[in-house]
């Protein structure tokens, strides 16, 4: 904690020993700001995608569909409902009405479809309880009692959806890591430029007995604070932009949920800290390596 405070407060006298280089300072702040801005956007997208995928997966996991042949009569439907009602782990079962089935098909076949003209199977929506039913057991029971009924527990939809969501998360974390690496590379280049511009100053500091760590400290403190400041500005801009994204009106749509929620709000706050840590480590390593090269 003391080391962090020392870094922030610094020694004004020591800080003056190395002159400020205006353009490097401004570029460092600008570049870290841009990186933090991008990081906030990427994290917001990642978290939104993750949340939406999780919810869709949950909803799919809770719901199943029992499909009966188009010519199933009322007795068959009632028998299927009875089987479901007496199955442990089934919270509810409901046969879709003609209007509900029409609504499901509207997006694909249009609103003016005459269902009577098509052999549309009868669908029964099955909502799982907690703990849920055993899908294989239920399937077996239907096979014995209603062989034409097909239970679709959505597993074949859920698996690729989860896989895609996990891939998306992985990609966004990779992008975030690349942003961090680019930030480190940029800070190293800026620090190298600053060290090269101050060769004479470093020589004089050495002549009067400065240790490498003292000289490095002046550069490290400067670049760490610049990176933290730039990243704070960039993160703030990123949060504002995320908040300004137009919200879709459909509940549960991707756009309706874009942004941070709950503990996710910590990320924009943590980004300047991470940027500062990356800048600290990168500048320190670069400065000490460079000072070792200089006699």
């Amino acid at each position: 904690m003391k080391a962090v405070l020392d870094l922030i407060v610094g020694d004004p006298q020591a800080d003056r020993a190395v002159p400020h280089t205006g353009i490097t300072a401004r570029l460092t702040v600008f570049a870290t700001g841009v990186m933090a801005f991008l990081a906030v956007l990427v994290l917001a997208l990642s978290m939104t995608a993750g949340r939406v995928a999780d919810r869709w997966a949950d909803e799919l996991a809770q719901a199943a569909t029992l499909r009966l042949p188009a010519d199933a009569d009322a007795a068959t439907i009632e028998k299927a409902l009875e089987i479901l009602r007496t199955t442990p782990g089934v919270a509810a079962a409901k046969a879709l009405t003609e209007a509900e089935q029409q609504a499901l098909l509207d997006p694909w076949l249009g609103p003016n479809l005459a269902l009577d003209a098509l052999p549309i199977p009868q669908l029964i929506e099955v909502i799982a309880d907690d703990p849920p039913y055993d899908p294989e057991g239920l399937q077996a029971r239907f096979a014995a009692e209603l062989p034409d009924a097909v239970l679709d527990d959505h597993a074949r939809w859920r698996a690729p959806l989860l896989k895609a969501a996990n891939r998306l998360r992985l990609v966004t974390w990779l992008v975030t890591l690349l942003i961090g690496a680019a930030l480190a590379a940029m800070v190293v280049l800026a620090a190298q430029a600053s060290l090269a511009a101050n060769v004479q100053v470093i020589h004089v500091l050495r002549l009067v007995g400065a240790r490498d760590i003292y000289i490095a400290r002046a550069f490290v403190r400067r670049f760490t604070l610049r990176a933290a400041f730039g990243a704070a500005l960039g993160a703030l801009a990123g949060v504002i932009v995320v908040q300004l994204v137009p919200v879709g009106d459909a509940p549960g749509s991707f756009l309706a949920e874009i942004g941070f929620q709950g503990a996710g709000w910590l990320w924009p706050l943590v980004i300047p800290l991470i940027a500062a840590i990356v800048a600290f480590a990168a500048t320190r390593a670069a400065a000490l390596a460079r000072l070792k090269e200089q006699t």
């Binding site: 020694d11 006298q13 020591a14 003056r16 020993a17 002159p19 100053v201 020589h203 004089v204 500091l205 050495r206 002549l207 009067v208 007995g209 400065a210 240790r211 490498d212 003292y214 070792k292």
Partner: protein, 224 residues
């Protein structure tokens, strides 16, 4: 404190001097003279570990200079005050900050508050404390360099042509300051071309005069 034994040093494979020996003990006063290019500055640089000898042994405060690490060199330099020929100031710092720089880099900046006013008065630069190096005259810069060299209360003072850019009166003033330091027990080594100054001071001090010429260091005698 500083011992050079059979030391050889040169640049680009051409030795400036070889088999050279020198010993600076507490309270000693040495003048180092010789023609330009003879290697006076090189010899001084060996004494404050700014160069490594090609051959022979350089011992600084009982430590082999060749085995000193980077931090070790820094620590040794805190015990040796150097007045550089070009003063080696940081132009973006005031004269007071430049003089206090050795304390600052040693994380002892707080001590400057006590020492600095006295030191500025000693070298007659109180009024110039807030000025920047380019704003000072040659003599003022040399006195400021001397003040910086002694602020850490070093055991050895090394001065490279301290009177090179100043008039006679100023050179006498600078030398008087160096003599005061020597009387306080500091070892002093001054490289200079100024034979008149050497003759004057030799009469006042029990100073040894060394002449570096043609790669050899010899004690100068009556010819001075």
């Amino acid at each position: 404190m500083i011992e050079l034994e059979n030391v050889s040093c040169g640049f680009g494979g051409t030795p400036l001097f070889s088999g050279l020996s020198l010993s600076l003990t507490p309270g000693s006063f040495h003048f180092l003279t010789g023609p330009s290019g003879a290697g006076k500055t090189t010899l001084l640089r060996l004494c404050y570990a700014d160069l490594r000898a090609d051959q022979g042994q350089v011992r600084l405060f009982d430590q082999d200079a060749s085995s000193l690490g980077r931090d070790g060199v820094a620590m040794i330099r805190r015990r040796i005050g150097v007045v550089h020929q070009n003063c080696a100031f940081l132009d973006h710092l005031t004269i007071a900050e430049n003089i206090a720089l050795p304390l600052t880099v040693a994380d002892r900046a707080a001590e400057a508050a006590g020492n600095l006013p006295e030191l500025l008065a000693w070298v007659g630069l109180t009024a110039q404390a807030g000025q920047f190096p380019p704003e000072l005259s040659g003599g003022e810069r040399q006195r400021a360099a001397l003040a910086r060299a002694v602020i850490m209360s070093p055991d050895v003072i090394i001065a490279d042509e301290p009177t090179g850019n100043v008039d006679w009166e100023m050179s006498q003033r600078l030398l008087t300051l160096l003599v005061e330091l020597n009387r306080m027990g500091k070892a002093v080594l001054i490289a200079t071309h100024d034979l008149t100054m050497i003759r004057t001071m030799k009469a006042e001090l029990s100073a040894r005069v060394l002449r570096l010429k043609d790669g050899e260091l010899v004690q100068a005698g009556a010819e001075l």
